[in-house]
């Protein structure tokens, strides 16, 4: 946008609103991060104070690094998240394309079928899922988690992507068809790049619950070698005592990779991706 189009009053108002909301958004995060570096008594006595030389403590991080194998947990979490995400995006986008691009009998019903999954918590299927995994020998493997998360992420991905794909210009796809591109090429070389912002959005939405999930790692892959970060951090949540230093430390650390992934994806939120296409 140009200098002429940006009005001072408007941008002051915009910044005021954003700063206000950013404070609301970040204040609790600030509390978390500040307290991750404090000793327990200081967390509760002066929750808002910055760590001082007296109250500064890395005890949480020490506990985290001394107990369990957090490096490995991080690696597991990353593998599971990234692979599941890739599958969700690919399969989800393909199905979304089929639903949004072609009119075939049962199109809407298929859409509904693929949306059923967001209507019941997948947790309820735990026993059956676990039985499948036991039967196929996938218990305590990352594959089990990847499969479950792929299935879990698909409905939402399809739901959102198909809506965005509907707004890709038909003329563009038609130009591809006239150019002799197969439907597959049209999907991969034309449609996918043009819904990049939507893909990024879906990626972020899919990644978060996967990364933060506790239940399926607990059920399907609780072994030491396949533990995820979230599951690892649970070990500090006891029956009567929770080691908040360690929980905060572990989960604060756990934000970092998702934040990085978020930043990577959000770079795909590009403006004007379709501009110049049609008159």
């Amino acid at each position: 946008m140009t200098a002429a189009r940006s009005s001072l009053a408007r941008s002051v108002a915009a910044h005021a609103i954003l700063i206000a909301y950013t404070l609301i958004a970040l204040f609790p995060v600030f509390v978390i991060v500040v307290n991750a570096f404090k000793a327990r008594r200081d967390i509760f006595n002066t929750p808002l104070a910055l760590p001082t030389p007296e109250s500064f403590s890395l005890v949480g991080f020490e506990t985290v690094t001394s107990q369990g194998n957090f490096l490995l947990y991080f690696q597991n979490s990353l593998i599971v998240t990234v692979v599941a995400l890739a599958c969700v995006l690919l399969f989800g986008a393909m199905a979304a394309f089929a639903l949004s691009e072609y009119r075939f009998r049962g199109n809407t019903l298929m859409g509904l079928y693929l949306a059923l999954g967001i209507m019941i918590p997948i947790r309820l299927g735990t026993v059956a899922i676990l039985q499948i995994m036991v039967a196929s020998g996938l218990v305590n493997t990352l594959t089990a988690l990847i499969l479950v998360y792929t299935a879990q992420g698909l409905p939402l991905a399809i739901f959102i992507l198909s809506e965005f794909m509907r707004s890709v210009s038909d003329d563009l796809k038609n130009a591809g068809r006239v150019d002799g591109l197969s439907e597959y090429r049209i999907f991969f070389t034309l449609v996918l790049p043009l819904v990049r912002p939507a893909l990024a959005t879906v990626a972020v939405f899919t990644m978060i619950p996967i990364w933060n999930d506790l239940w399926f790692p607990l059920i399907l892959a609780p072994a030491e070698s396949t533990k995820t970060v979230t599951l690892g951090a649970q070990m500090f949540i006891g029956q009567f005592v929770t080691n908040w230093n360690a929980v905060l430390a572990a989960l604060t650390l756990a934000i970092v990779p998702v934040l990085v992934l978020y930043l990577i994806f959000s770079r795909q939120l590009i403006r004007g991706i379709t501009s110049g296409a049609v008159k």
């Binding site: 676990l130 059920i219 500090f236 006891g238 005592v241 929770t242």
Partner: protein, 397 residues
């Protein structure tokens, strides 16, 4: 050849104790058996365990919740029958009752520990204010008044939001003195007593009075908040379970004292809730049953009792052999067994089998009473009505 036993537990808290004390001790004696302690967050334990048992991916050794949860697993054939385990001989029937069938014929978990309710207090604060440990309810409130008067300390560290605090640390803590321990509990099961009876309502009335001695906004105070209030020296008295001992000793920088639940009137018998809380059993589907039994026998031994009780002061081993405790506060708690009658929480055996769940109702209404949302009488009515809706005495005989 090597076998590895995976132990399922909700005791995340005990991870270090197992890794540093118990497992090395066992493996030293049984080099062919490896142990792997695999705890789950306590709130997820039951659900996760049930799912894994059903699908056949659970560990070999199962830590047992008391009473119905484990009984149900046993009846489903998920837990192995351990009646004939040699080590079982080390336990009294009372100790085994939490993990036996209703008729007591079969036992399926080795009892590990019980926890005792009482009050832990800030001894420095008591000294500073010149207070004595109260023995009767009146004395108890006198002490609370004195602390409140002084204003330095919050008299009582208790919150309502987590509900179970009000039930376990409040109602079940002070109640046995009113309903006369096991007598009252068994009468309830037999249908001879009701929650609306005076001896069951009175402790609720006492509980209702606690509200004014709790901290500001105690309605939104969580259990960890209560713990922190106390260990940070801001509250004087903590209605406790013995499991708090090790944590409080580690975290509090003042001297701790403990007194048993006050008696209603001078001269009354004293009762304590000495609740069988943890057992340990064998997954019926385990392929390492032999090794599992070896391990369980070790758990039943006095060696384990000694190690465990001392590693976790406040969890009192249930085996018959005498255990020497090093921790003075823990010793104080145990010593109450000599003067007071022991009982377990009245809601645990049999009465929580139906819907609505009695224990859950107890939590709910006890916390309502504590927070002032209900009168003790209303609460008692509600609890009893819930129970009556499905329970007829003798239905499980």
């Amino acid at each position: 050849q090597q076998t590895t036993l995976v132990i399922e537990s909700w005791r995340n808290d005990d991870l270090t104790i197992w890794q540093q004390t118990l497992i090395p001790a066992f493996e030293a004696q049984h080099p062919d058996i490896k142990l792997q302690f695999q705890p789950t967050a306590p709130t997820e334990y039951n659900a996760a365990l049930n799912a894994k048992l059903e699908a056949g991916s659970a560990g070999d050794i199962i830590t047992c919740r008391p009473f119905d949860a484990s009984l149900a697993l046993f009846e489903d054939g998920a837990l192995a029958d351990l009646t004939d385990l040699e080590g079982m001989g080390n336990f009294s029937d009372v100790a085994k009752s939490a993990w036996s069938t209703d008729d007591g014929a079969q036992t399926f978990c080795v009892p590990m520990a019980s926890v005792i309710h009482g009050f832990i207090y800030n001894a420095d604060a008591f000294a500073e204010l010149g207070l004595e440990e109260p023995t009767t309810t009146d004395e108890f409130f006198a002490v609370l008044d004195a602390i409140k008067e002084d204003g330095t300390y919050i008299p009582l560290a208790i919150g309502a939001v987590d509900q179970w605090e009000a039930a376990s640390m409040g109602y079940h803590n002070i109640g046995p003195a009113y309903w006369h321990g096991e007598d009252g509990r068994l009468a309830l099961i037999a249908g001879d007593a009701k929650f609306t009876d005076e001896e069951w309502v009175e402790p609720l009335r006492v509980l209702a009075r606690w509200g004014e001695y709790a901290g500001d906004g105690y309605q939104a105070q969580t259990y960890p908040d209560s713990q922190n209030l106390f260990t940070l020296g801001r509250a004087a008295i903590f209605p406790a379970g013995s499991w708090e001992i090790s944590l409080f000793e580690e975290q509090a920088d003042f001297a701790l004292g403990a007194f048993p639940p006050p008696i209603p009137a001078a001269g009354d018998t004293c009762y304590i809730s000495d609740h069988t809380d943890i057992g340990i059993g064998l997954n019926a589907a385990s392929t390492n049953a032999e090794a599992g039994r070896t391990f369980l026998n070790w758990v039943a031994s006095s060696e384990f009792a000694e190690l465990y009780s001392n590693a976790l002061p406040g969890f009192f081993a249930l085996s018959n052999g005498a255990v020497t405790l090093e921790n003075p506060v823990a010793n104080e708690f145990v010593s109450w067994r000599e003067n007071c009658e022991s009982t377990i929480r009245p809601t645990y055996q049999i009465l929580s089998r139906g819907t609505p769940n009695l224990e859950n109702d107890n939590w709910l209404h006890a916390s309502n009473v504590l927070s002032g949302a209900e009168t003790p009488e209303q609460a008692a009515e509600a609890i009893q009505a819930g129970l009556d809706s499905w329970y007829t005495p003798g239905m499980y005989e």
